[in-house]
Amino acid sequence: MVRVLGWLVMAFAVAPREVTQGNVQRIMYVHVPLILASYLAFGVLAVASLVYLVRRDPGADRLAHASGEVGVMFVGLGIATGSIWGKPTWGTWWTWDARLTSVAILFVMYLGYLLLRGTIEDPERAARYCAVLGIVAALDVPLVHFSVYWWRTLHQPPSLMKPGGFAGSSSILWPLLVNLVAFALLYAYLVARRVRLLRAEAEATA
């Protein structure tokens, strides 16, 4: 059943493409949900890390691990689609635009999370250290946003065509919302599967 849900979500996520008028702006329907879903993933990671520190429950650690993985994949894709979108719009693959920069820092920060998890052999110690890093990173996100935002806007007016402008006519908003739900479901599905795999791996070695 879960696999069916997965495929349904995949198809669903691509569906809205036809609804809007064809132009490059349509990348937004993938770029924005990816970024928002990754925030969801890192939020879940932080909460799961906190639960792990309090209750030392391996299930919470597995959820944090899975959520971190999917989150890094989503934010990585978000950056890629963002820069693909930037090329025609601004003529360059990358601009140090406030949103793209803070998302890029997020990507590197949580990539470090996965690296830390990969480096420590003892699962119990890895869980503990990653929980601490997960919380520190989550608390750091608002600080990153503020500092990057001030750094960009105080010196250079926000770029003309600010990608991912949330305001917009309802014809833009509706497919965006649909896609957002689709990617959130996709996130939940992938994490659920990854958690099951982690549990199976743990049982295999226990």
Binding site: I27, V30, G76, A80, E201
Partner: protein, 68 residues
């Protein structure tokens, strides 16, 4: 705004490709784990490598068939 279908296709294509790659990796690992568990209790299940990051998948070690 010129109609750059190429870029739209690239963005969607990349997203679908990476998601598919991750989905297939999960499925592969699940099958691998089932085979090892079903294989025999005595063999030591080779802990599969930590999943790699997106974008530049680490070369997967060739999965040795567990010694019977």
């Amino acid at each position: 705004m010129p109609d750059n279908w190429g870029f739209v296709a690239a963005a969607y294509g990349l997203t679908a490709a990476v998601l598919l790659w991750y989905w297939r990796r999960l499925a592969k690992k699940e099958r691998e784990l089932e085979r090892v568990n079903a294989g025999s209790e005595t063999t030591v299940a080779e802990r599969s490598r930590e999943p790699s990051k997106t974008g530049h998948p680490r070369p997967e070690p060739s999965p040795r068939t567990p010694l019977q």
